[in-house]
């Protein structure tokens, strides 16, 4: 196709590919082990973890555009909300309650929303881009508020009753079904994204992040590539939104809000940008920490969360994955 791609391919030699596959396998095993641990030791909080996974999908999606293509956005929840509302409307207004149908439409709606918003967001640079993304999420929020006949407006879209998974496993009070479904989706999304990120397409995106002018000089389509990436990111975020609609049974305007967008960005940066795993780690740590301190003191927990964010910047400016990598290197260095 292009020089950039060929170059990317030659860099990612077979040995390297094998090693990445091994890393993937470890990551998958780790996620499964963590999920199993949570399932057995915190059975009362599975709903919390399900919500976490939905937001992890949003953070993963955000990492795709921010970490791998360098697009700054504070409006990413628009894609998440598109998926949530699409799934919710399908179930509550059209009676199509199969969870996989809901997830499918969520992903499609997210991809569409991603494509449309990329057409706008890619027109800006730097701060301008940030503001365009804010404008998009605010417009989406306002539109959902106005279309209350379809979305329930500020009262939320209720009446979503997802059918049992495979017709066998209904969504129970403890949230076990929803949790297992969520973990499965997360694994699939994570592995697929890892593959995409390593593919020539992913390499091209990284190249664009570093130097868009050079990439376009090499003859690769910058704009088209980014739109495609945004569509993929939209599908992932939409999947998260649909998952949230299935697990919660209500979709609210918050799923399309600036607040959620900003929170997702904070979680991503906390975990480490451009590493996919950082999105998972950051989301987990942020929500879990918030849950913990807000349960201890529901009135003044925000201060502690703020202090944690400051501490991370002071001591680990590269985010939590940066800290883990440093530890890992030190440990290896110690052995050798």
């Amino acid at each position: 196709m292009t020089d950039a791609v060929l170059k990317a391919r030659s860099v990612a030699g077979p040995a390297r590919a094998r090693r990445s596959a091994a890393v993937d396998a470890v990551a998958v095993l780790f996620i499964v082990a963590a999920a199993a641990f949570l399932y057995f030791f915190f059975p009362g909080s599975l709903a919390l973890f399900t919500r976490m996974i939905a937001i992890m999908l949003l953070a993963l999606s955000l990492d795709l555009v921010t970490g791998f293509a360098g697009i700054a956005t504070l409006g990413h929840a628009a894609l998440f909300g598109a998926g949530a509302y699409a799934a919710g409307i399908l179930a509550s207004k059209f009676g199509l309650t199969d969870p996989f149908a809901m997830l499918g439409i969520g992903a499609v709606a997210g991809a569409l929303a991603g494509t449309v918003s990329s057409l706008v967001i890619l027109r800006g640079r730097g701060l301008g881009q940030l503001v365009l993304s804010i404008a998009i999420v605010q417009l989406a929020h306002e539109a959902a508020n106005k279309l209350s006949a379809w979305t329930g407006g500020s009262d939320g879209l209720s009446g979503i009753v997802p059918a049992p998974v495979f017709g066998l496993f209904r969504f129970d009070l403890w949230g076990r079904t929803a949790f297992i479904l969520a973990v499965a989706i997360l694994l699939v999304a994570f592995v697929v994204l890892r593959v995409i990120v390593r593919s020539p397409f992913g390499m091209l995106c990284r190249g664009i992040k570093q130097d868009p002018i050079r990439v376009s000089a090499m003859g690769a389509p910058v704009y088209g590539t980014l739109v495609k990436l945004y569509a993929i990111a939209g599908a992932v975020a939409g999947l998260g939104g649909a998952l949230s609609a299935i697990a919660t049974k209500v979709v609210g305007l918050d799923s399309l809000s600036f607040t959620l967008s900003a929170e997702a960005l904070v979680m991503l940066v906390l975990g480490g940008v451009g590493k996919l795993f950082g999105a998972l780690l950051g989301t987990f740590v942020f929500i879990w920490f918030e849950h913990l301190v807000s349960a201890i003191n529901p009135f003044h927990w925000l201060t502690i969360v703020g202090a944690m964010l400051i501490a991370v910047v002071l001591f680990e400016p590269k985010g939590l994955t940066g800290a883990l990598e440093a530890l890992w290197k030190r440990a290896r260095g110690g052995e050798g």
Binding site: T66, A72, L74, V120, R123, G124, R125, G126, L127, G128, L130, V131, L132, I134, A135, I136, Q138, L139, E142, A143, K146, F258, T259, A262, L265, V266, V269, L270, V273, F299, H300, W301, L302, T303, I304, V305, G306, A307, M308, L309, I310, V312, V313, L314, P317
Partner: protein, 287 residues
């Protein structure tokens, strides 16, 4: 005709209030290259200090403004020394994380110390009540905000474009190492600029408190508004910020009058249109 004129006056006044509140952010974001999401938190701090000074200490409005600005700057000095200095030149996202953290802490502390209720800053008799401007009346405090905005805009422009300090500041931002080598004490330049930006935030918080009332959530509630007007103007450009505030103020005010139910659409569609036409903001410099 009278209605159009009347709306124009409202739009102008609102735009100037926006300007007073957000200009400090234009300084940090454009000149110091720090995405300071805690700008609203400093504005809120100023508002609280002024409310405290007028209610508890019983000082007059003018003194309260001075107390608010001075107090907020004082509070910000250690923050600059220990926190912000660490993120000058850091990636934008790191700055976002840090300044959101600062915002959360300030909100938490405000909620704890001042309580969650609305705080007001009583106006002196001269600024209370409407003033007749011929064809209609307008709140005196809005005129005061307009005057403050014009003075601030003028002073800042002179400071940045016409004084030695302005030259040093621009040099430090463009190339800190080179400026340092030429004898500019960049640390001090940065500290002073940061103090000025925070002082402006506090001033805006007090002067704008009639439209954006002071309560703990202030710091987050108006974050989007501040970010949008500054970026649309082109961060770091004083005339740009002024233009953006007036333009967006006009769009919002007219939208609210003509079709209030679609007011938000007007505002954000205008934002999208402007940024698409001027990717670096109205008067922003590329890069």
């Amino acid at each position: 005709m009278q209605t159009i004129l009347s709306i124009a006056v409202d739009a102008f006044a609102y735009g100037m209030v926006l300007f007073v509140i957000s200009i400090g952010l234009s300084v940090t974001m454009g000149l110091m290259k720090v995405v300071n999401l805690a700008h609203g938190a400093f504005a809120m701090m100023g508002g609280y200090l002024a409310a405290f000074a007028t209610h508890q200490l019983g000082v007059p409005y003018g003194v309260a403004i001075v107390v608010a600005v001075a107090g907020t700057v004082l509070a910000a000095v250690p923050l600059e020394r220990w926190l912000y200095r660490r993120i000058y030149g850091a990636p934008e996202l790191t700055q976002v994380l840090m300044t959101i953290g600062v915002t959360f802490v300030i909100i938490g502390v405000a909620n704890y110390v001042m309580g969650p209720s609305l705080k007001t800053i009583p106006l002196p008799a001269a600024l209370e009540g409407p003033v007749d401007i011929g064809f209609r009346s307008i709140a005196a405090h809005k005129l005061f905000a307009v005057a403050t905005g014009l003075i601030v805009a003028g002073a800042l422009w002179v400071l940045i474009e016409r004084t030695a300090f302005g030259v040093k500041l621009r040099a430090s931002v463009d190339n800190a190492a080179m400026a340092g080598a030429l004898g500019v004490r960049t640390k001090i330049v940065y500290a002073v600029s940061f103090a000025a930006a925070v002082g402006l935030a506090a001033l805006g918080g007090v002067v704008g408190a009639q439209l954006l009332p002071i309560e703990p959530h202030y710091a987050l509630r108006y974050m989007v508004t501040f970010l949008v007007v500054v970026s649309v103007g082109g961060a770091g450009s004083i005339p740009g910020a002024l233009l953006a505030c007036l333009l967006l103020g006009a769009v919002e005010t007219t939208g609210r009058y003509l079709m209030p139910e679609f007011g938000e659409f007007f505002f954000y569609l205008a934002v999208i249109a402007i940024v698409c036409l001027f990717p670096h903001g109205l008067l922003g410099r590329a890069g």
